[in-house]
């Protein structure tokens, strides 16, 4: 497994009034090359602190943070040539036009054949019509596309996207998400922070939940869901719920209910029961319109894991 980002036991503390606050508390995580890795957590969880350390503008107190094998603090300038960051909260320099601003960043990153590269990123982000306009006059969606264009100038191997769709309308957000997928397709590693669970669910290969400076869980969406779900719900859409319940009653360890006149919910411990359920349903003399395995959404998973971490944190304290 080739690692793009490796964070080992990183801590960062701040003095706040009379107490010491841990913004990061022994955080460890590994991001594989070429994956989209989501970092999710409530405000003040430590996401920005971790991103700032990775971007080289904040030094960690303990542990080590490396991207592409380079230390994020000690080798920051060497590393910054190979990575880039898109943040939904940043702007563009002064009154420069889009073209001038991109030329400015091309110089900062010493981009070879800058004019051609600018054309390339402009085309990828569909900003061709706005090239001569001042970036500060851009709409939020255009600004985000400009930021992505800027971040692609140095062909970064690792991209950090800090809430890239914050404040965007639906259409712009869809465009940005499409762009992110394409970036991954091009082989880039992406670290994404977002409060938009749908976005994380749509884009991320793996997700880490962070709360109070600690990583509370890491895994694929499937793994995370499995961790929280002790039981699974199968939803049967049928014309006669009473009949379906009667047919399934014989199967041990099932919990049956009918939440609406056309639905039956079957609560099982695992999907292993599915074969038996289907077999019994084949005898049904009513119409079966559909059978769906109800998965918890990422939002439900997130709330469960974050709440669990709060309870565990309180116990520790």
């Amino acid at each position: 497994m080739v690692l793009a980002i490796e964070v080992i036991d990183v801590s960062k503390k701040y003095k706040s009034a009379n107490e010491i606050v841990y913004a990061l508390d022994n955080v460890s995580l590994k991001v594989k090359e070429g994956e989209i890795f989501g970092l999710l957590g409530p405000n003040g969880a430590g996401k920005t602190t971790l991103i700032s350390i990775l971007a080289g503008i904040l030094s960690n107190d303990t542990g080590s943070a490396k991207i592409l094998g380079l230390d994020c603090v000690r080798d920051s300038k060497q590393l910054q040539q190979k990575i880039n960051v898109v943040s939904g909260f940043t702007g563009a320099p002064f009154t420069l036009s889009c073209e001038e601003a991109l030329m400015y960043y091309s110089l900062l990153y010493n981009v070879k054949n800058a004019k051609e590269k600018i054309q390339e990123v402009i085309s990828a982000t569909q900003l061709g019509d706005a090239l001569k306009l001042p970036v500060q006059d851009f709409s939020s969606g255009m600004k985000q596309r400009y930021l992505i264009a800027k971040a692609l100038l140095n062909d970064p191997k690792v991209l950090i996207l800090d809430e890239p769709t914050v404040g965007l309308d639906v259409e712009s957000a869809i465009n940005i998400r499409d762009m992110v997928r394409k970036l991954r397709h091009d082989g880039r590693t992406i670290l994404l922070t977002t409060h938009n669970m749908f976005e994380a669910e749509e884009l991320c290969d793996r997700i880490a939940f962070i709360n109070k400076g600690r990583i509370v869980d890491v895994g694929t969406l499937k793994e995370l869901r499995e961790k929280i779900v002790g039981k699974r719900i199968i939803e049967i859409n049928c014309s006669d719920p009473k009949m379906v319940i009667k047919l399934l009653k014989g199967i041990p360890n099932l919990s049956l209910s009918s939440p609406s006149p056309k639905l039956v919910h079957v609560v099982v411990k695992s999907y292993a029961k599915m074969k038996e359920i289907l077999s019994n349903l084949s005898d049904a003399k009513c119409e079966i319109r559909g059978i769906t395995a109800l998965e918890p959404t990422l939002e439900e998973t997130y709330i469960h894991i974050i709440n669990r971490s709060k309870i565990e944190g309180e116990k520790l304290e």
Partner: protein, 256 residues
């Protein structure tokens, strides 16, 4: 080579933004002329000797050579802060020194432009000329290094003071004007007990060097050279210390 390109990035940014920024443009083309004529009109109104007009003009030129590199270093930083793009600068491969040199070069170019405008206008209006070009250029060189060093200090303060450091960029040159005797002889103004200390300032010696072209100053080239070098090294060390402290305490993150 890549270092030179990154240094050039700051010059590019400065002059591109100058195109659409009336305030920055006035800083180069309008205010220096207003300052110049305010003082020269006053001196000629008093009926002073031509030599005092010359000292005023030379003082204005030297002061501009200090003022612009210092101001440009700070404004290049604070304008990125104001436009919320400072984070992009900080996460780019440009080093602090490359940034400061690039910004200061923009300042030098502007200062040279102003000096040329001064030369043209004052030669036409007052018959002003540079009597000793090597001395003049040497003085300008020292002013530029002093201005650059002041910019490094102000930038160091900027990591903590954010846009507040912008006012420091204006305060510094004014203190220099007052202490270094830009338009007057320090011996004739300050108590004799203080004068030896004021003469230790490299800026004082640089202005003495300028005045010496008209037989008024008494520069000490050793103090000027060593003092300027020491000031530069201290300024760079201060900037480094403040940057590392800001990076450790999370101040840089809050700037972006």
């Amino acid at each position: 080579m890549s270092s030179l390109v990154r240094i050039y990035s700051q010059v590019y940014k400065s002059f591109m933004s100058l195109k659409r920024n009336t305030f920055r443009l006035a800083d180069v083309l309008i205010w220096p002329m207003i300052f110049l004529f305010t003082l020269t009109f006053f001196v000629t109104y008093l009926g002073s000797d031509q030599i005092y007009v010359n000292i005023i003009i030379l003082g204005m030129m030297g002061w501009r050579m200090i003022y612009f590199p210092n101001l440009e270093t700070v404004s290049s930083f604070t304008e990125e802060y104001w436009s919320k793009s400072l984070a992009h600068l900080m996460i780019s491969p440009i080093t602090r020194l490359e940034f400061a040199i690039g910004a200061a070069i923009s300042g030098f170019i502007k200062a040279i432009l102003v000096v040329i405008i001064y030369l043209v206008f004052t030669s036409f209006l007052y018959g002003f000329y540079i009597p000793d070009w090597p001395t003049f250029l040497l003085g300008m060189f020292f002013f530029a290094i002093i201005g650059f060093s002041m910019g490094l200090v102000t930038l160091g303060l900027g990591y903590f003071m954010k846009e507040e450091s912008f006012s420091m960029a204006f305060i510094w040159p004014d203190i220099i004007v007052l202490l270094s005797g830009v338009y007057f002889s320090i011996e004739s103004v300050y108590p004799a007990s203080i004068v030896p200390f004021i003469r230790l300032l490299p800026s004082t010696q640089a202005f003495e060097l300028m005045k010496s072209m008209f037989g008024l100053g008494h520069p000490d080239l050793v103090i000027l050279s060593v003092g300027t070098a020491v000031f530069f090294l201290l300024a760079y060390a201060f900037n480094t210390f403040m940057y590392e402290k800001a990076r450790k305490e999370g101040k840089l993150v809050r700037l972006g």
